[in-house]
């Protein structure tokens, strides 16, 4: 009955201000849903991406002992190959596993640097610059100079660390560290690059150096502290992980090595995933809150139009048609409000997805062990906008069942006496 839809549409213009207020209430709540969901999903995504890039890969391969003492960055529990056949062969075998796109060895170690007045504790990451650039966003954070090159005594540091040790790009820095054989070494490097990111760990603690130099200086030829495996998508981890574990078992190395999915190495991601589910329920309540305004408006409308409902019933309109008429009115408000809210929320998200929210000052007290970017970029995605739009439409329409049923249940004789 198209004319009922036409009538429902026209009815919205009877009290323009009232309709406007209802639509604004829906739009506002849907806008907040789009924004809040974009913010939370963006936060979790950023957190996950950074954890994967700078800590765990999609799958992290380390020794059991290293896992127990990881915070101390020990050098005496290295990853050095399968069945004594060397790291290169191990990397090749891992690359052959279906679903493994990249294999990234890293050699992490503790070090110190003197400012003249004090010793600053830092962390060295021996990396293959080419692979690191391909896998992480480190090149995006490079604000001056370049990545260190293999075969050279070069380092790259975060801006805050350079300020702390009072050095600039192009200058030399002497870094002190223990080798795998526990002998103290002091080596002078040229600073070739400076990074700037919201990640405290990269900004204040880590210096990058070429993997071959790290292995040579630490006396760890053919050894690394961890091997990260990268899959084409993080969703593939549950399928790839058992294949990696099978490879370790095949070589009798499952007792020594540990293959961990990215979620196994961060409690924070686990809790954030739960928070995401909880927030999804909060969004429903948020829209329900706006529905109070709509339901209240609709109940007023039913009361005002009681005689009219009686008249329509007398003309032969069935209860279900009357219910449909009021539900259509609610649905039109729901669609209009949700559309406005989804579009405006999406525009706000689009803006903040570019500029981000800078929480550097607020998170300055956080431990650098948490790989966390203090600049949070909300996720601006069509999926999020569509989710919020349909959430608004469905909940508002369902809420309108209450007044619509009241209208439909009116007896024509009583309605006409009202």
């Amino acid at each position: 009955m198209g004319f009922l839809a036409k009538l429902a549409f026209k009815n919205l213009f009877r009290h323009k201000l009232r309709t406007f207020v209802s639509i604004v209430a829906i739009a506002f709540s849907v806008m907040i849903v789009v924004f809040a969901r974009g913010y939370i999903v963006g936060l979790i995504d950023n957190l996950t991406v950074e954890h994967i890039q700078y800590d765990s890969g999609h799958i992290k391969l380390i020794t059991h002992e290293y896992r127990d003492q990881e915070r101390l960055l020990p050098l005496n529990y290295p990853v050095d190959g399968l069945g004594g056949r060397g790291l290169e062969e191990m990397v090749a075998a891992l690359k052959d596993i279906e679903g493994v796109e990249m294999v990234i060895p890293r050699l992490k170690f503790g070090a110190m640097v003197s400012t003249g007045d004090e010793l600053v504790t830092i962390s060295g990451w021996g990396v293959d610059p080419e692979q690191e650039t391909a896998f992480t966003d480190i090149e995006r954070y490079l604000v001056e100079g370049r990545m260190p090159q293999p075969g050279r005594l070069e380092v790259m540091m975060g801006t805050a660390l350079l300020e702390k040790i009072n050095r600039r790009v192009g200058e030399k820095v002497t870094i002190v560290f223990n080798t795998a054989f526990n002998s103290l070494q002091g080596v002078t490097f040229t600073i070739v690059g400076r990074t700037e990111s919201g990640i405290k760990l990269l900004n204040e603690v880590v210096f990058y150096l070429p993997l071959d130099q790290a292995q040579r200086l630490l006396e760890m030829d053919g050894e690394v502290t961890e091997v990260l495996l990268v899959t084409p998508d993080k969703k593939l981890v549950p399928q790839v992980l058992p294949r990696v574990q099978a490879l370790l078992a095949e070589h009798g190395e499952d007792g020594r090595y540990l293959a961990l999915g990215y979620k196994d190495t961060s409690d924070l991601i686990f809790f954030m995933e739960i928070a995401k589910l909880i927030y999804n329920q909060i969004y429903v309540f948020l829209v329900l809150l706006a529905c109070i305004v709509v339901v209240n408006t609709m109940l007023m409308i039913v009361k005002e139009r009681t005689r009219e409902i009686g008249m329509m019933s007398a003309l032969g309109l069935e209860s279900k048609d009357i219910m449909r008429l009021f539900l259509t009115e609610g649905a039109i408000m729901g669609v209009t409000g949700s559309l406005l809210g989804a579009v405006s929320g999406s525009l706000i998200n689009g803006y903040f997805a570019r500029t981000g929210f800078d929480f550097t000052a607020a998170t300055s007290g956080f431990s650098s062990e948490i790989v966390f970017n203090a600049v949070i970029y909300p996720l601006s995605s069509p999926g999020n906008t569509i989710f919020a739009f349909f959430l608004g439409v469905v909940i508002v329409t369902i809420a309108c069942v209450i007044p619509a049923r009241r209208a439909a249940r009116l007896e024509p004789t009583e309605a006409m006496r009202a």
Partner: protein, 229 residues
């Protein structure tokens, strides 16, 4: 041929602990094409009788046969279908839909019947609006019409689907005497031209003057039933 036959029609309203009898065994027959007025004091049962005849309510006891069909046992949906197709209503306060134009208000009733093509609907609506003297006012909304014009729209709305019966509850109550006269003339004309049966409920002596049959209701019973020339 009888359009309506009522036998022992009783309606008792259950108001908690008290039962209020509104109709006490009405026996009436209304022929096709009659122009009938039901009158009586307030609370006598006129509106209740009209509601039962109009399939808006169901009797507590008795039978009511509309165009050969017994109404008492019918479901709400079946009653709605009879109202939709065969009964037209004209109300004291017009009860037009304010957001619709005169044309759309009339169209609303014929659209419900769902039996006509778009062009036929348009032709019917325009024809009936012209017949009630509203040609040229089709696009006006109720708030742009006078009381008499509104009641003409209501009459057009009741007539457009060519029902067998039109029930008019105090149709002249809100109209001045001149307008009331005009509206009654329109209804009489439709009765004569289309053979539609009209039943009025009224206090208005002017309406009674037009009626071919006068039925007086008192205390829920037929006190007088008088036919004129």
């Amino acid at each position: 041929m009888a359009l309506l036959e009522m036998r022992g029609l009783t309606k008792i309203y259950d108001q908690g602990k008290i039962e209020v009898p509104a109709l006490r065994g009405i026996d009436l027959t209304v022929e096709q094409g009659e122009f009938t007025t039901i009158f009586g004091p307030s609370g006598s049962g006129k509106t209740t009788l009209l509601n039962l005849i109009g399939c808006l309510d169901r009797p507590t006891a008795g039978t009511i046969i509309f165009d050969g069909q017994e109404l008492a046992g019918l479901e709400k949906k079946a009653l709605a279908m009879i109202r939709r197709r065969h009964v037209g209503f004209v109300f004291q306060s017009y009860n037009l839909i304010p957001v619709l134009t005169a044309y759309e208000n009339v169209e609303f009733a014929v659209r419900l019947v769902n039996e006509y093509e778009k062009k036929e609907i348009r032709d019917r609506v325009l024809r009936i609006l012209e017949a009630v003297g509203l040609a040229g006012l089709e696009k006006r909304k109720p708030n742009e019409l006078s009381g008499g014009q509104k009641q003409r729209v209501a009459i057009a709305r009741a007539l457009v689907k060519e029902p067998k019966l039109i029930l008019a509850d105090e149709p002249s109550a809100n109209l001045d005497s001149k307008t009331s006269e005009e509206v009654l003339q329109v209804m009489l004309k439709m009765n004569q031209e289309l053979g539609t049966t009209f039943i009025f409920s009224t206090h208005d002596p002017r309406v009674m003057e037009y009626a071919r049959r006068l039925i007086e209701i008192r205390d829920g019973q037929v006190a007088k039933d008088q036919r004129r020339g």
